[in-house]
Amino acid sequence: MRKLLAPVVLLCAALAGAATRIVQDQCGPFTDVSPALCPYVLEMFYLGITAGTSPTTYSPDNPVTRGQAAVFVSKGVNQAIARSSRRAALGQWWTTTPPWALGLGVTAVGDFAGQPAADGTDIWVPTDQSIDRVRASDGKLLESWTGANGATAVLVAMGRIFVTGQLPQTLYMIDPAAPAGVAQAVATNVAENGPQAIAFDGSRIWTANCCLIPGPKQPPIPGSISIITPGTWSVQNVTTGFDAPIGLVFDGTNIWVADTPGMLRLDAAGAVTLTVPMSSIGNPAFDGANLWVPNANGVSVVRASTGEVLATMSQSNIRDQVGSATAAFDGRRVLIARSEGTVELWDAQTLSPLGTFQSGSKLTMGACSDGVNFWVTLLDLGSITSGLGRF
């Protein structure tokens, strides 16, 4: 038996009886619930799955409608999902950023780290001169790939890593099973404008191209999207309907683009079929049902199936500039990383705020999740010029 630490060991009789004995003899605020039902009623009540019929009654004998049943089951499933997450099993219940400025939870990477992506084991970070591979379990920088100059965004798909390069307008591909080396250029005629974001619809790669200024006193090149077919690596560039697209997300059916007018839903040919008006949009995230879109008013939650704006919320009076906020989803929570260094957390199911935190960096460029942690790219964080922070 494990050695007891107290100077005197006091023995007492073990409890006898069934494996589980319910001892709840009060039923919280409710006066009309029997002892037999009380534990289950209170569990539902305190988890927020159900409410009482009045402040002091639960009305346990009342019938339940189909609509009410749907709410109860849905909320119950959400609780189950929350508790069954790997983060729960690992005991990571905190919701604040670690002290990144002290170098804890941060990995130094190449200059001007952009929008990262997770492959389930490692985090891939595009930087100005390299693509850096960071092991998720401990944040160790494993390797760096070169050749993708001016890398802006990364896509993990088909067992490969795809990288958008701004200079020249090229799509690169990395085989993560191969030794680190030079990324392979697979498409070299992606739109003249700089690819900013990248997504995959299951068969083709899409890039959102924006904001390249060809020279002094010249206007920026109009935005576009490119659709690239793997294998042949043919590129279809679509300019109609786009101004300055800076974000892309696939909802399982359609590609959505974050652009100046708002969120644009596209058909398979890249034509705009729906516009959800918004201003100063950032990079969106998809949570399986809704799009989370950072914008000038905070963050808007858009039902992907209909384009309906379910809510526009803000945890502070933050007003951000176009293209400088990124959303990421970890399976339960949505993180918004804003460029001035603020990090917001939201509950994706209830749309409730979970808090805001300061990253400590002067500039936050991108975010992703590996399903356990969020990862945020940070610039000018104390002694770290460009880093990847675990959250």
Partner: protein
Amino acid sequence: MTSLPSPLGPFGLVACDGTDVWVGAADSVFRIRASDGELLETWSIKKAAGALLVAMGRVFVAGFGLAGEPGILSMIDPRQSPGPATVVATNLPTYPFVPAFDGARIWTANTAGSVSILTPFAAAPWTVATVETGFQLPSGIVFDGSHVWVSDSGPCVLLKLDARGSVLQTVSVGLRGGSPLPLTFDGSHVIVSNALAGVHVVRVADGATVALLDVAHGAPSGAAFDGERLLVIGQGDPSRGLAPTLSLLRTADFALLGETELTGIFPVAAASDGLNFWITVEARDGSKLVRL
């Protein structure tokens, strides 16, 4: 089953970082790859491991020495090559056990009668604030996302603390003290393993005890949560002919899914990486880490 190079010591603690499993022993911390159980690395520590914590991309080890000696907190950077763990705090009270992390600070429950709150700094030593008021024999500690909870083996209670370590709420978890009270959090409940009084399930929302689980022959010594199930370790009692046990329960309703008696191995501690349970055991041929 992975054989460990040296004995576990009295606590044989285990923690998971999502990819590897870390095991604390008398003078070492072992790193084992979860996918195949291969022993990857051995790190040395200055004092016996009383607790392991994975947080902020690091592995923290609370260490204790001889009676009366101050405790220490060491830090392992798993990105580096294995070697001696870095000591970041040297003035912990005697017998620091079971650290917890609240997102910004590390908390330790110190069996000598206090709780310590450590604030990370760029360089060692880290600031340590120790609170003694309200504590007798702290032996377990967890963070529920909002508050730190500490178990106290003296009065046999569970204590809810505020951010400064002051007691906000006291919940009885047994009739008489004296047994260590390891804690586990399942997202809604703090689960208290009381070898003298069974497993107490306390709801964090209001501090109500919602269930008493009579498993492990009524003598549980620890538990682990994998996201859906609770594994309870029972170390048994040879004087009463009680064999060590492993009990598996569903946390949705705490229904018993199964219970087994162990022969030839003695379970010490448990953890989960979300996919498997891991237990440290003492066997006839040495200390081991077992995947369930």
